[in-house]
Symmetry: C2
Subunit: 339 residues, 2 copies
C-alpha cells in the first residue's frame, strides 16, 4: 500500500509499504476513503518536534476490510469513523468520558493513517459505524469528526459553551473554526473569533461567530472586555498551543469563567499566581473524540452541520507533500487527501 | 480600640487605634466576638511577602454595632458572619457565585479584623446574620466559616468531591483539614489525607479521612495510585500553595479528574505540557466564601459539623504575638483570638 512518511523535518515522501495485518484479536483493518493533514503535523514538519522517517496521519474514515476474531460491533463492509486515539471504551477512564486517556490507548499517529490501509487497535472501542454508506459529499465532514471537529467540540465543552454564554475563540485554524461551530451548536449566545485573515473570518461567521477581533495579546483582551461590560468572556477556547495564545485565553475569561485548551502545548508555562488571581477554570488536552462521535455522526448524517468546509484543498494521497507545503505556508486551512 | 499590627516580618504588636467609622452608606461597623490568625498571615510574617506596619486579619464574627443608611439586610444587634472579601453580591460575577472576584470587592485584610471593631464594606452583600445569638461553643465554628471552612469547602467543590469519588487532600493545615470535612459532607466515598503529623492525622480522621499517606512528592503520588487501581484520585484538593504541593496534586489526579487549589500560590509554575498530558481540570483561587455562608451557618447552627475543632490554641487579642509564633513554629494548627 501507499503511505505518507516524513523522512525529516520539511520532507514528505509517499512510499510503498507492506499492507497492515491483524495483530491483536481486537484489531480491524480499514481501507481509507479519505485522510488529512493535521495542524499538529506541522510541529515536526517545522522541526519543533524531532522526526526521523516517521509514518504520518491520525485522522481517518473508511470501510472495514477485515476484523480480528474478537471484534463484535463493526463488520466487514461497514463505513466507520474513529478517533485519533484508539481506546477500549470500557475502562473507568473511558467510561468517565476520557477515551483519549484510556488505560489501553494507542495514538493513531504511531500507526499512520495517511495511507491506503490502516490497522485500528481496539476496533470495538475505537470505531463507530455510520448508518450506511455515506454520500460522497458527506465524507469530508465525517473525516473532520475523527479529530478536528471532535477536538473543537471538546474545547467548547471544556469551556462550558452554552446558552447565555459569550464564547471567545483564540486560534483561527481548523480546530478554532470548528470550536466556533461547536459553541454555536451548544447554544452559545455570542461567539467572538480572534482572526486577522479574511478567508478564515468568513468561515468563522458561517460557523456562527457573531464578532471578529483582529487584535491579539493585551489589545485583543481589551477588545473582549469591551464587548462584555468589562468582565471578559464566560468561555474561552484556546486552539493554538503557544504561551501567547494561552495568556490571551486566560486573560480573556471572566473570573469563574472556563478556558478549554486543545492546542498542543509547546513551551507553555502558566504562573500559579495568575490562575489563582483570575479564578478561571482550566481544562484541556487531547480530546476524547470517541465520546462525541455518535452525536457528531448523527449531526453530519442529518446535514445539521457541515464541518467539512474547513478542507479548502483536496489532493490525492500521492501529492501529500504539496498538502504539507500549503498548510505550512498558510495557503490552506486544512488539506484533505483522497485515497 | 485595640488592633493587631505587623510592624515588620516576624514582629507583631497590638496597638490602640481610632475606632472605625461608617464611610460609605453601605458600611456596617461590627464589634468582634472572635477573630483568628490565617495560614496566609504567615507569608508576610516569614518575610516571603513584603510588610510594613500592616493591620492584620480578615476573618471575623461579631455583633453589628452601627449600620450606614443604605444597609437593609442586617441591623444593629445582629450576630453576623462575613467573608474575607467584602462583595456587593449583586454584580454578574457575584451572581455567578464568584463573590471573591466581585467587581466592587474589598479584601478585608486591608481593613484588618484582628481588632475589637471593624468596618465592613458592602454590609448587605458581605454579611450573613445567624438565626439568633449563638451559644458560646458555636463561635469558633462560625468564625471558621468566615474563611478557613469556606475555603476548604470551595476547594472540595472545585475538586468536584461527591458521591462515589475518591478525594485526595494535599496540605494538613486548617484549610486542608476542613477540605476533608467538606468532602465528607459532599458525600465523598473515600478521602485520602497527606499528613505526617499525628495530631493532624487524628483530626483528619475525625473530619472524615479514610486513608492517611505520610509520603510526599512522587512517593505520595505512587501511594494514591496504589489506592485507586493505578488511576489516581477523582478529586484532589491543594491547600498549600507551593510548587511541590501543586505538582503532587496534579499528579495525584486521574485523567479527567479535578484539582481544586486554594493554597495562595507562591512561585508556582504549571507546565502547559503537563496540564495537556494529564487532562485534569484545574480551578481555584480565593474562595467565594459568601456563596456558601448560608449553608455553612445552617450546618453549624444545627450542629451537623464542628469545624471549630481546627482551633487548637485560644488566646486573648492582646497576646496575638504568641499566636503568630505558635503557628509559625507549627505548635498550633490555628489560633483563635478572643476579643
Amino acid at each position: 500500500m501507499r503511505q505518507v512518511v516524513m523522512t525529516k523535518p520539511g520532507e514528505i515522501a509517499v512510499e510503498d509499504r507492506a499492507d497492515p495485518k491483524i495483530i491483536e484479536a481486537t484489531d480491524a483493518i480499514i481501507r481509507l476513503s479519505a485522510t488529512c493533514i493535521c495542524g499538529s503535523d506541522l510541529w515536526p514538519y517545522r522541526g519543533v518536534q524531532e522526526v526521523h522517517h516517521q509514518v504520518m496521519g491520525h485522522e481517518y474514515v473508511g470501510v472495514v476490510e477485515e476484523v480480528g476474531p474478537e471484534v463484535k460491533t463493526v463488520k466487514v463492509g461497514d463505513f466507520v469513523v474513529g478517533s485519533f486515539w484508539a481506546s477500549d471504551n470500557t475502562c473507568d477512564i473511558c467510561q468517565a468520558g476520557y477515551q483519549s486517556h484510556c488505560v489501553h490507548r494507542t495514538i493513531m499517529g504511531s500507526i499512520g493513517t495517511q495511507s491506503e490501509l490502516a490497522r485500528i487497535p481496539l476496533a470495538d472501542g475505537t470505531l463507530v459505524a455510520t448508518p450506511g454508506q455515506p454520500a460522497a459529499d458527506l465524507i469530508p465532514s465525517l473525516l473532520a469528526a475523527s479529530d478536528v471537529l471532535g477536538t473543537g467540540w471538546f474545547a467548547a465543552v471544556a469551556a462550558q459553551a452554552g446558552p447565555g454564554k459569550t464564547v471567545a475563540v483564540v486560534g483561527d485554524g481548523a480546530v478554532g473554526l470548528l470550536g466556533i461551530l461547536a459553541a454555536k451548536q451548544l447554544g452559545a449566545e455570542r461567539i467572538v473569533a480572534f482572526s486577522r485573515h479574511a478567508d478564515r473570518q468568513k468561515l468563522a461567521r458561517e460557523f456562527g461567530a457573531t464578532d471578529i477581533i483582529e487584535e491579539r495579546g493585551d489589545e485583543g483582551v481589551a477588545k473582549v472586555k469591551d464587548l462584555t461590560g468589562g468582565l471578559g468572556a464566560h468561555s474561552v477556547i484556546e486552539a493554538v498551543g503557544t504561551q501567547e495564545a494561552m495568556m490571551q485565553a486566560i486573560h480573556s475569561a471572566r473570573p469563574g469563567g472556563h478556558v478549554g485548551f486543545v492546542g498542543v502545548s509547546h513551551d507553555v508555562n502558566i504562573p500559579g499566581e495568575l490562575l489563582f488571581g483570575t479564578g478561571i477554570h482550566l481544562h484541556g488536552g487531547p480530546a476524547p473524540v470517541r465520546q462525541y462521535l455518535p452525536e457528531l455522526i448523527k449531526l453530519i448524517w442529518n446535514r445539521k452541520i457541515d464541518p467539512g468546509k474547513v478542507f479548502d484543498l483536496t489532493l490525492p494521497l500521492d501529492q501529500a507533500a504539496e498538502g504539507y507545503e500549503a498548510m505550512d505556508e498558510r495557503r490552506a486551512i486544512k488539506v484533505l487527501l483522497t485515497v
